[in-house]
């Protein structure tokens, strides 16, 4: 019953190497993101049930609500000046709605049961083109 792993205190060299390897993979995937995500004006791309829709997220954008039909029902996406969010969803876990406002490139709200992904890409007006690490801080 008393295997070596049960006697060994956490924090071995192998543990540290494993953690570092995973963190290297995370850092690599951060910089391997497609560069196109930073190009063009700030906009929301919604992939819903196999089709793609784009909406501009300009500061003078008129508020509107879009609805997307999915396998579970209607997902309502709320568009406001410079930001967007999932307002209502028929799914059980509500992870998409709880993701809140999406306003920076890289912000994502997804509803797996209703087959919908909403992602912000592009740059806000008057914003220099650079890698914006805070874009993934949501």
């Amino acid at each position: 019953m008393s295997r070596p792993i049960l006697r060994r205190a956490p924090g071995t060299v192998a543990d540290a190497l494993l953690v570092v390897s995973w963190l290297i993979l995370a850092a690599w995937s951060l910089y391997a993101q497609p560069g196109s995500a930073q190009q063009g004006p700030l906009r929301l791309i919604v992939w819903s049930n196999g089709s793609e829709h784009q909406v501009m997220l300009a500061q003078d954008q008129l508020p509107q609500q879009l609805s997307f039909e999915g396998p579970v029902g209607l997902t309502i996406v709320d568009i406001a000046p410079g930001k967007a969010r999932v307002l209502a969803s028929p799914c059980s876990q509500q992870i998409c709605r709880l993701s809140g406002w999406l306003s920076s490139a890289g912000d994502v709200a997804a509803c797996v049961p209703n087959r919908l992904v909403a992602r912000v890409v592009g740059r806000r007006e008057n914003q220099p083109e650079q890698i914006r690490v805070d874009g993934i801080s949501r």
Partner: protein, 166 residues
């Protein structure tokens, strides 16, 4: 398997199920981020018994847990079941290959990170789109943090359980 072992395994399965269901009520820093407390019991079963016992605990956790939370049969169930199986397979493989070097914490980090990555894989296949892969760095970092937490809990639980055993 002795009656004592069977009883202990049944208690672990009950613990995994309770933690799986209770975790829904714990506030999350991000809506899709979970600590994976139920995995603590699977981890304990893996290191104190064997992979078959861990698989039994994991199956009970996922099957009964999704029946209780109402997710059974839906995409959320496929996500939870698929990533739990992938996580256990990799943890069992890491244990058999790296038992000389790894601690329970390292094993737990492997399980948590594999769980996260396989969730992204399954979700991307179901969605038919790779729009979620931008979340990979956050998924891995949260996996490392959550895996370390559950690994530490499992380590201290195993120490106590061994004391009871003696």
């Amino acid at each position: 398997m002795t009656t004592r072992q069977l009883t202990r395994l049944a208690l672990l399965a009950a613990l995994a199920l309770i933690l799986f269901v209770l975790e829904v009520a714990i506030p999350r820093p991000l809506p899709w981020m979970k600590i994976g407390l139920g995995n603590t019991a699977v981890l304990i079963a893996l290191v104190m018994f064997d992979w078959r016992s861990a698989a039994a605990v994991m199956l009970i956790k996922v099957l009964v847990g999704s029946l209780v939370t109402g997710a059974f049969g839906g995409p959320s169930f496929v996500l939870a079941a698929g990533s739990s199986v992938a996580s256990l397979v990799l943890m069992a493989t890491s244990l058999s290959l790296g038992e000389r070097w790894l601690s329970i914490l390292g094993l737990s980090v492997v399980g948590a990170c594999v769980h996260q990555v396989s969730q992204l894989c399954i979700a991307s296949v179901y969605l038919g789109h790779d729009g979620l892969w931008g979340l990979l760095p956050l998924f891995i970092v949260s996996g490392v943090i959550a895996g370390s937490m559950t690994g530490l809990v499992a380590y201290f639980a195993c120490r106590q359980l061994q004391g009871v055993q003696a």
